[in-house]
């Protein structure tokens, strides 16, 4: 088995890298894939919180690198899904505790046993970014329809293009607010795609459910009713290779559209 190593990165902080990581990882595992997530944000780890695994961490990536434990010992199994596990970042060390080479080795080792290795990248374009990208061959660039996030994404895309190891990168637009786009107060998905001229892999609507799911330490993809959860599930399916159309967010959120849809459904049945 040779798993795919995908780095999830953004440049700017707070756009939802870790949330995206937790959800795509969980969705892939729910689809029956063997998934391991690596948190490379040394000193500022959070992926464990989003997965609700913070109390189960015994060893971290730094322990692996410094030989205090075997790689397998450091992998924390998910509460619900046996296909999913986490290699946590050390909270007490800085980015220099792990090198690019070491991360590459870890990824190569994990590729033997897992279908997907998702690398959660720290914000910024410094060593932490370089480390996270080192072992990956694919990338997902997370951005939001805000100027600062798009600008940073552009910078990241430039850096990814310069890396030989990265064979492809895809854009994920997070925290989309259809109502704001409708009133012309937010750049649309098309605007962002056009400006960055990158392939799109997902559109995730802003969803208050994300906050509650983080509170509970349970990724939102586990909530079948959530729109953001659905959107993340679709991203996972696209990663696997399925051709899934993008959710029509406007239709789902506007009350009038729902009413219209309901009536058009009735008319359709009569015919």
């Amino acid at each position: 088995m040779s798993g795919r190593v995908i780095v999830i990165t953004s440049g700017k902080g707070g756009v939802g890298k870790t949330t995206t990581n937790a959800n795509i990882g969980t969705a892939l595992a729910r689809a029956g894939k063997k998934v391991v997530m690596i948190d490379t944000d040394l000193g500022l780890r959070n992926l464990d919180l989003l997965l609700g695994l913070e109390n189960r961490i015994v060893y971290t990536i730094v322990d692996v690198v410094e030989g205090r434990c075997k790689l397998k010992q450091a992998l924390v199994k998910d509460k619900k899904n046996p296909n999913l596990c986490l290699l946590a970042a050390a909270q007490t060390r800085d980015k220099s505790a792990v090198t690019e080479e070491q991360l590459k080795e870890i990824c190569e080792e994990l590729q033997k046993d897992y279908d997907f290795i998702l690398v959660d990248c720290p914000a910024g374009i410094e060593q932490g970014f370089q480390n996270a990208v080192a072992g990956a061959s694919e990338a997902i660039v997370v951005t939001t329809p805000e100027m600062s996030a798009v600008r940073d994404a552009d910078r990241i895309i430039g850096l990814l293009e310069a890396k030989e190891e990265i064979k492809s990168y895809k854009l994920l637009i997070n925290r989309v607010r259809p109502n704001l786009i409708k009133s012309n107060d937010m750049m649309s998905v098309d605007d962002v795609v056009e400006i960055l001229s990158a392939d799109l892999i997902g559109i995730i609507p802003e969803d208050t459910g994300i906050i509650t799911s983080t509170n509970k330490g349970e990724p939102i993809v586990n909530d079948e009713k959530s729109l953001a959860g659905k959107a993340y599930n679709n991203v996972a399916r696209r990663i696997i290779g399925e051709d899934v159309p993008f959710l029509n967010l406007e239709e789902e959120t506007s009350v009038m559209a729902k009413v219209k849809k309901f009536f058009s459904g009735l008319v359709g049945k009569e015919k």
Partner: protein, 173 residues
Amino acid sequence: MKDIFAEFYNKVIGFFRRTEEAEESSKDVARNRLRVVLMQDRTNLTPELMEKMRKELIELLSKYVEMDKEALELNLEQEGDQMALMLSIPVLRAKEESEITAEDEASDEKTEETEEDSDNTDAEESSDETADDEEELSVEDDSDDDSDDEDEFENDACDCGKCEKCNPKNKKK
């Protein structure tokens, strides 16, 4: 219910906004600002360099045409994969050939007068504001300092059409 009212309110307000001001939406502002800033990020053409290029173009072109210097637009734009430098010059009047040649002669004389000045600015550009002389008041020096665009325009704009004569450095001499 709340949603419906909010939507209705937004629509009404939006309608008045549109009819009153016909302003571009904040999304368009964001998109355009972003385009410009990304262009700069990708090319390393700083606003200062753009301003310098703009001023030099004005200087060169005003020899041939009389133009609205403040309305002159110089922008980098993306056209597909190609980057284009767009220059829009509102021309007030094309100059007569005799005017152009007269100005040529005048500027020939000027170069002799101001040679000392221009030498100095060249030196300063290469050594990044090391000289602290009074020559720092020359127009070229202002262009390196992006903070006071307004002043530049005032220095630049002149009614006679022959900028060189209205330059503050000449006034001071």
